[in-house]
């Protein structure tokens, strides 16, 4: 690995100061992507900023209105082991608990998974479906972005020089809502998605109609995708098999997959329909149970 300086700032102000010193910087949270990329020469830097000693970036808490605020450097295991998160946001736990193996989950973070900006990032469709927003900070202040606008292309995110991804904010999921995330891989655990899908739906009070929906798919386009056409197929409709199938078909039509070692374009498009359909059924089940 190329030599670099290691800095572990204790405050955001200190981190921004180091970011502004003109050196090429790599942010370190869990290190499960960045350390490998530095070792393999896919990234290089003059300094590594370890963000794990900044309290705001390691926090996990629900606000009084029920929004979940997750510090960008909080390990995935801290998220899915939290009983309140597991109860209120099973659709987030679906993704957090299947990124890597246990060794990875104790270190890897939502911030890292998002900043790495892989088209196949498993947290992305789950967070897009949950209408998560990202808080981005710099010495000039903070700004917020819907998570689906954070991805610009494979490995490319919307952070500007001097900015740090601080927090993921997930709005409260009201009674009658449900979310679900699913991924297809050739083995049971520990692999990169061939295709994945995250969905959330909100049922009407009498459970007869879908009032709101968000459908997102991954690994089938240069970035994780929000698919408004799939949501349009759901909203206002009865939550029956025909409705869900139409939405799944719309998700497959929005996919623009490539063929690579993990799967062909045709297989990925097929899997997008299947994963979306199954995730919709999972979300519907949860929405029905969520009173």
């Amino acid at each position: 690995m190329e030599a670099f300086e290691y800095i572990a700032p204790r405050t955001l102000a200190e981190a921004y100061q180091h970011l502004g010193n003109g050196k090429r910087t790599a942010m370190l949270a869990g290190g499960t992507d960045i350390i490998v990329q530095l070792r393999e020469g896919r990234r290089s830097c003059d300094q590594v900023l370890d963000l794990k000693h900044i309290p705001e970036l390691m926090a996990l808490a629900f606000t009084s209105d029920g929004t979940l605020e997750i510090g960008a450097a909080t390990p995935l295991a801290d998220i899915y082991e939290d009983p309140e998160v597991a109860r209120r946001l099973p659709g987030l736990v679906d993704a957090a608990s299947l990124i890597g193996g246990i060794q990875i989950q104790g270190r890897a973070t939502l911030g890292g998974n998002l900043c790495n900006a892989s088209p196949a990032a498993d947290s992305a469709p789950a967070l897009i479906a949950l209408a998560a927003r990202l808080v981005i900070g710099s010495s000039a202040g903070t700004r917020e972005l819907p998570v689906e606008e954070f991805f610009l292309g494979p490995g490319q995110n919307a952070l500007q020089p001097g900015e740090i991804l601080l927090q993921v904010k997930i709005p409260p999921q009201p009674p009658g809502s449900g979310a679900c995330f699913l991924r297809f891989i050739p083995r049971n655990e520990m692999d990169i998605a061939v295709a994945n899908a995250g969905v959330s739906i909100q049922l009407s009070d009498d459970r007869s109609r879908i009032e709101r929906a968000r459908v997102a798919v991954g690994a089938v386009a240069p970035t994780p995708l929000l698919v408004p056409a799939a949501a349009d197929a759901l909203v206002g409709q009865a939550p029956n098999a025909e409705t869900l199938e139409r939405a799944a078909q719309a998700a497959a039509e929005a996919a623009t997959p490539i063929t690579d070692m993990r799967g062909s374009a045709a297989q990925r498009r097929h899997l997008t329909r299947v994963m979306t359909l199954r995730a919709l059924n999972g979300a519907l089940q949860r929405a029905t149970e969520n009173r």
């Binding site: 690995m1 190329e2 030599a3 670099f4 300086e5 290691y6 572990a8 370190l28 869990g30 290190g31 499960t32 350390i35 490998v36 530095l38 070792r39 393999e40 590594v48 370890d50 794990k52 390990p75 295991a77 890597g100 193996g101 246990i102 060794q103 990875i104 104790g106 270190r107 049971n188 655990e189 520990m190």
Partner: protein, 160 residues
């Protein structure tokens, strides 16, 4: 790059070591501290051969910078036995022939130990899921799972 001094608690003893920021915990354990029980497999976080327990959680030492161990508590395979007395997992791995070439074994033992410390009586599915981040190309995993089940039973009996 100047070397940094790191203080850590390693296998129950407070130690200091010097390292460069670019050195992984795996490199420092093996090359600077002479603890070669932690194995290098893929060196990219896929195989689990370099699994250590860090602050109560398992981690791949290849994906940790050694400087991150400042103030941490780290356990490697060298810290698992008590003197000459093997840990129940080490004993059952031997009895159940849960290894052939042995490269993956220290990682499996540490991962399994972390599981049993947290959940003393995991079922087979849970054991397989927990150990999915450890690859073994010799055994086909069945003997490893049996060894973990046997250690789990023996450790619970020993407590009663």
């Amino acid at each position: 790059m100047p070397r940094t001094q790191v203080q850590t608690r390693l296998n129950g003893a407070d130690i200091d070591f010097l390292c460069e920021p670019r050195q992984s915990l795996l490199e420092v354990l093996r090359d600077e501290l002479g603890l070669t029980g932690t194995k290098e497999g893929c060196n990219n976080g896929n195989c689990g051969a370099c699994t250590v327990i860090m602050n109560g959680r398992i981690a791949n030492a290849c994906c940790v910078l050694a400087v991150e161990a400042e103030g941490a508590e780290v356990t490697t395979i060298e810290g698992v036995a008590r003197g000459d007395q093997l840990h129940p997992l080490q004993q059952t791995f031997l009895e159940e022939a849960a290894l052939q070439c042995g490269i993956c074994t220290p990682g499996f033992i540490l991962a399994a130990k972390a599981l049993l410390d947290k959940e003393p009586n995991p079922d087979e599915h849970r054991i397989r899921y927990w150990l999915a981040g450890n690859l073994c190309r010799c055994t086909g995993y069945d003997k490893i799972v049996k060894a973990v089940q046997k250690a789990s039973a023996e450790m619970q009996e020993a407590k009663v």
